[in-house]
């Protein structure tokens, strides 16, 4: 049953992804500016621009270009960057890995702090803890991320000099890349000093990026827990002599978790899309920066593929969340 559902959902992704390719393709071609001119510079001769357009097939009608793009995609060819002439499928990997590593760190921070703050706020409703943590959560959702990032750098890098302000690694001691997840690579190489350096580089951007999800998760957990804590089965659990810890973490949290899980999924998807601002401030070579730079140089294939990869990850996360619903709540059935 579960397997059937998963297969059906995966098949349903085909039209979704197809629709996405069309939208992405059209939007990108609506970006003003002539790629040939951007690549060759304003002073290039008209002939050389024309030659480049022909080479990149930009002189073909849109549907032909789309057809080519789709054909390549289906055959596993993600295209070649106009700017670097590299295969995008290879070029994109380090960027994707950088974003993935940062997303994982941010979400672990956001879920751990957010869920626990939400639980305690609900359990101690209207206490000082509740007021203060919900105030922090409110500030967290409304604060601009770039400002938070700059403040972190100012305090923890510049003033206290505890943590590095930018990058993923000490540039003088480059890491031997295998997976491009630097923490994993450092462990694979047995370089514990590099692992520590990689972790230190992750902390500030991780907190900056995780703050908004953390605040949303905290507020969602609190309201969901408040509802659950009033329910009859919580009274039953207490009447059985369960300790407060067991009542909250074993009986209440799981029941309160479905809406929280939804938020976690959405936020993870959003972070995987790359956070251009945060990545810029922390000079983090992630997917957001990669696509942003590609837009600047009208590198159509990179933009297209980059956005498609992000969209693909987003729908996969959503599918994963849907499947997790069932693991949390056996009443949710997929027939």
């Amino acid at each position: 049953m579960m397997l059937n559902y998963t297969i059906r959902r995966l098949l349903m992704l085909v039209p979704v992804l197809l629709g996405m390719t069309i939208i992405v393709f059209l939007i990108i071609h609506a970006i003003p500016g002539d790629p040939a001119e951007v690549i060759l510079g304003e002073k290039a001769s008209e002939e050389s621009k024309q030659a480049l357009r022909q080479e990149l097939k930009l002189d073909q009608p849109l549907y032909v270009q789309y057809g080519d793009f789709l054909q390549n995609l289906v055959s596993g060819n993600l295209g070649t960057s106009i700017r670097t002439k590299e295969a995008i499928s290879e070029e994109i990997m380090p960027y994707l890995a950088a974003t993935l590593e940062l997303t994982i760190v941010s979400m672990v921070f956001a879920v751990f702090v957010g869920v626990n703050a939400g639980i305690i706020s609900a359990w101690k409703q209207n206490s000082w803890f509740d007021y203060i943590s919900m105030l922090i959560a409110l500030i967290g959702v409304s604060m601009p991320v770039f400002w938070l990032g700059l403040m972190e750098q100012w305090i923890f890098s510049l003033k206290l000099q505890w943590l590095p302000s930018i990058g993923r690694m000490n540039p003088r001691d480059p890491i031997e890349t295998v997976t491009n997840l630097y923490t994993i690579d450092a462990m694979l190489a047995g370089r514990w000093d590099q692992l520590w350096t990689a972790v230190k580089h992750l902390i500030l951007p991780g907190i900056a990026l995780g703050t908004i999800p953390m605040a949303i998760i905290a507020r969602m957990t609190r309201s969901s827990m408040l509802e659950v804590l009033r329910s009859d089965y919580i009274r039953t659990a207490r009447s059985k002599g369960m300790s407060q810890f067991l009542v909250i973490y074993k009986h209440a949290l799981r029941n309160a978790f479905i809406p929280v899980l939804t938020v976690i999924g959405l936020q993870t998807g959003m972070l995987l899309g790359g956070a251009v601002l945060t990545e810029t401030i922390f000079a983090w070579p992630g997917i957001g920066r990669y696509i942003f730079d590609a837009i600047g140089s009208r590198d159509y294939p990179v933009i297209q593929t980059g956005i498609l990869v992000i969209a693909f990850l987003f729908v996969m996360i959503n599918l994963l969340v849907d499947l997790l619903y069932h693991a949390v709540d056996p009443r949710i059935r997929y027939d």
């Binding site: 002599g241 369960m242 029941n255």
Partner: protein
């Protein structure tokens, strides 16, 4: 006469609301002996459920508090007991089952987990032992395919089955006192009878005393040895089932009994006590039932009568009986 298992003395439970402090339970005295089934009857809002939650220490915080009095359970005063100690007692020596079997079980845990966790907390049993005991307990409460049911979730069971599961949870540690708060109100009539029979049988077999909270005099007549009638936070009459049904003294008790539909009546309108239970917080001086009482006279409006013993074990709070 055996030493009471539980003695409640002058219990006062107050609720703090927007309209001020409301005495939901206003000085009740009550005792339950070993193995006895005592019923508390009364209309909604008379304080019977609040009494049971006070005993369990499960009053909704911070609104509800025990403002005075004592609840002695085997010599220990539960009214001033620490939460940790209450946790040790709850589910082990005192258990409770609730009105709503449909919502009283955790929807995300299997039946087996919900029974065995009680055994694991109080009896420190291994996972395996607790699981085996859970199956045995389900068989004891009359569930036939217990091995299958332990793996199922509450939503897969009917209301009657769920209430049996609740009873299994409540009785798995062989408590000395079971508080049953309207255990059959939400069930079909045929299932009601089965559940009552089951509780009565378990009472006889295990000697667990039962405090039966209900508004249904039929349930009282069927189950109880003794009855306490509550009205607006106070006890108005107390006696054996025989006394209460055959020689009711308080006009409220008489009214309750007259309100029971009878097969041999002439088919006219059913009797009902005129008026409504006073809203908590609006109670004035005098007998609380006086505004609705057909026999009320001057004194009833001015002075609250005492709960006086009329005959052995039969107490009544009424000026007509003095």
């Amino acid at each position: 006469m055996a030493v009471p298992l539980m003695t409640i003395q002058n219990l006062q439970t107050h609720f703090v609301t927007d309209k001020g402090r409301i005495p939901a339970v206003d000085g009740i005295d009550l005792h339950v002996r070993k193995g006895e089934i005592v019923g508390i009857v009364g209309e909604s809002g008379c304080g019977k459920s609040v009494t049971s939650l006070s005993i369990m220490g499960l009053l909704p915080k911070p609104a509800g508090t025990i403002a005075g009095g004592h609840i002695y359970f085997k010599g220990e005063d539960l009214a001033v007991c620490k939460e940790k100690r209450m946790q040790a007692l709850r589910g082990d020596e005192i258990s409770m089952i609730f009105q709503e079997p449909m919502t009283s079980l955790n929807p995300l845990m299997t039946i087996g987990e919900q029974i065995s966790e009680t055994l694991r907390v109080h009896r420190r049993k291994s996972r395996k032992e607790a699981w085996r005991d859970s199956i045995a307990m389900l068989q004891k409460v009359g569930i036939s395919r217990a091995e299958g049911i332990v793996r199922e979730y509450p939503h897969q069971l009917s209301g009657g089955m769920r209430q049996r599961v609740m009873i299994a949870i409540a009785l798995c540690c062989e408590p000395e006192l079971l508080i049953a708060d309207e255990p059959t109100t939400a069930l079909d009539v045929t299932i009601q009878a089965q559940i009552l029979d089951l509780m009565k049988k378990l009472n006889e077999e295990t000697g667990t005393a039962i405090l039966m909270i209900t508004h249904d005099l039929g349930v009282v007549a069927e189950m109880c040895h003794r009855v306490v009638v509550m009205y607006a936070g106070k006890i108005v009459e107390e006696g054996s089932v025989k006394d209460i049904f055959h020689k009711p003294r308080h006009p409220y008790t008489r009214g309750l009994i007259r309100s029971i539909p009878r097969m041999d009546s002439d088919g006219g309108r059913l009797y009902s006590i005129p008026g409504n239970v006073p809203l908590p917080g609006t109670i004035t001086e005098g007998c609380r039932f006086a505004p609705r009482c057909e026999h009320a006279f001057d004194r009833c409006m001015r002075e609250l009568p005492e709960l006086l013993e009329q005959e052995t074990g039969h107490r009544c709070r009424c000026w007509l009986q003095t």
